[in-house]
């Protein structure tokens, strides 16, 4: 009987060791699940969205077994550093500030930011160019920022915490505003609709998605923003010491791009090709 027990024990132990050997083929990807259409949850609580589908596709290219886990936005980078998961795919733009803490793969998608108000707001008629690229600068950009500065003066501007949108609003480019930050984009949308926020800033699709699903008259105003504080596209966030994983993600993104997978999935979720 004793020998029998020992055998079972050693078999179990060896199984555990084998399991460990293949552990590098298993990765966990963290996402927020609250920023449609990038990533969100369906009625049954299952994670869905552009990045969820793209993650499965990239994992197939890398030949890795992936699990996608949920993490609150404001704890996303600390959770990655503390090894709760191995990669972030959560609509996270590549910015210099974040690159001090983590590495990013090449960008896989890009999407412009926009201000939004409720229909009937006095900001609706604001006269600015269609798009503003902060990296380019120049007199048109400066003029647009000046118009925005006077339009936003004294207004309550709402955005999600720890985002490129918050960075931009705090940069002083649009002067001193009454800024309010929220844990999730859902909460920003709720307070925009209730009238607590005069105007909100987020990815343009986040507002159009909300407007479509809730039927609330949310209107995009002002220019679309890119460059500068808005970063250089959205990439996969990876721990700095995890260079192997970074390489395989970059390779997988290249392959997925070449085969048209990224643009196909992007078109499916955004309604236009947001891939890059």
């Amino acid at each position: 009987m004793n020998i029998f027990k020992k055998t079972i024990f050693s078999v179990l132990a060896s199984l555990l060791i084998i399991g460990n050997v293949s552990a590098s083929d298993k990765i966990k990807i963290g996402t927020e699940g609250a920023y449609p259409p990038w990533n969100s949850k369906d009625a049954s609580g299952k994670l869905i969205g552009f990045e969820v589908e793209l993650a499965w596709s990239l994992c197939r290219y890398m030949g890795k077994q992936c699990t996608i886990v949920e993490q609150d936005w404001d704890g996303m980078i600390p959770a990655l550093i503390m090894r709760k998961f191995d990669a972030i795919m959560a609509g996270m733009s590549i910015t210099a500030e974040r690159q001090k803490a983590i590495s990013f793969s090449q960008g896989y998608a890009d999407e412009v930011a926009s201000l939004a108000v409720m229909k009937g707001s006095d900001l609706e008629g604001i006269d600015t160019p269609e798009g503003v690229n902060l990296t380019l600068g120049g007199s048109t950009v400066n003029k647009a920022l000046k118009t925005l500065t006077s339009a936003l003066a004294g207004k309550t501007v709402c955005t999600q915490t720890a985002t490129i949108h918050q960075n931009f609003l705090e940069s002083g480019d649009v002067g001193k505003i009454n800024l309010r930050t929220y844990k999730t984009q859902d909460e920003v949308n709720l307070d925009l609709a209730s009238g607590r926020c005069d105007v909100a800033l987020a990815a343009a699709v986040a507002f159009t998605d909300y407007s479509e699903k809730s039927g609330k008259p949310v209107v995009l105003v002002g220019p679309t923003f890119s460059g500068g504080a808005f970063g250089n596209g959205v990439g996969v966030g990876i721990r700095k010491d995890d260079t192997e994983l970074l390489k395989s993600f970059n390779k997988a993104i290249n392959q997925a791009r070449k085969n048209g997978d990224i643009s196909r999935i992007a078109t499916k979720w955004f309604g236009f090709d947001a891939s890059m």
């Binding site: 500030e97 709720l190 209730s194 009238g195």
Partner: protein
């Protein structure tokens, strides 16, 4: 451990604790008033008044503070009719929504603390007052209330400390209190441990002060039986 970050974030966090103390003191004052009124209502012989007061404390002690804040802040914000009334002037502001939630919550606990304190007053004391010909209203204000307040000091001190920690939930409705600013610093430095240790230290210090003030008051106004 990033010691420099801890030192740098300390003044910012200390500054933010002013909002925490403001939230705490305003909601405690309103809450004490609510608590006193509802404790008196609980002692009323009329079954409807009694049940109403019991229902209030039952609901607010039986649901999480976070849920109460969310209902008051996001929930009431959804009711379109409310937005056209004067109430919206108050409910529009996250600060007042937090105060309303905190005051109603602590009011419910305070009413229970005071009620049990009233009930521990020995009938002999009231009878002694009556035998001296003191009107029952005066007995209530001059004998029952002071004794009840003394009796409830230890439990109420606990409630103050619980409420102080409860104010950290104000950060969920965009207020930049101690926890809110701590989260903000973390969002730019990505170092939660250092910042939360400093924030926790400040909370602990506030508890230390409250605890000692209550202890002092207990000694000063307490009586041995």
């Amino acid at each position: 451990m990033d010691l420099e970050l801890m030192i740098n974030s300390f003044p910012k966090l200390l500054n933010a604790s002013i909002i925490t103390l403001k939230l705490l003191s305003v909601s405690l004052i309103i809450g004490l008033l609510i608590g006193l009124i509802f404790a008196i209502l609980r002692l009323n012989k009329n079954i409807f008044i009694n049940r109403f007061a019991y229902g209030y404390s039952y609901v607010f002690r039986g649901t999480p503070l976070l849920v109460q804040i969310f209902i008051i802040y996001f929930g009431l914000g959804q009711i379109e009719y409310l937005r056209s009334t004067f109430l919206w002037i108050i409910l529009k502001e996250p600060y007042w929504c937090a105060i309303i939630a905190f005051a109603l919550n602590t009011g419910a606990y305070t009413s229970e603390i005071l009620r049990s304190a009233f009930q521990t007053i020995k009938p002999g004391m009231i009878e002694a007052g009556k035998s001296l010909g003191i009107p029952s209203k005066i007995i209530f204000y001059k004998i029952q209330i002071p004794i009840a307040i003394r009796q409830s000091l230890p439990a109420y001190g606990n409630e103050i400390i619980l409420m102080m920690k409860g104010t950290s939930l104000a950060s969920t409705v965009t207020l930049m209190d101690l926890t809110g600013v701590a989260k903000y610093i973390i969002s730019t430095t990505f170092k939660p441990i250092e910042v939360f240790i400093v924030a926790g230290g400040i909370y602990l210090f506030m508890t230390f002060i409250i605890h000692n003030v209550i202890k002092f008051l207990e000694k000063r106004y307490g009586f041995s039986q």
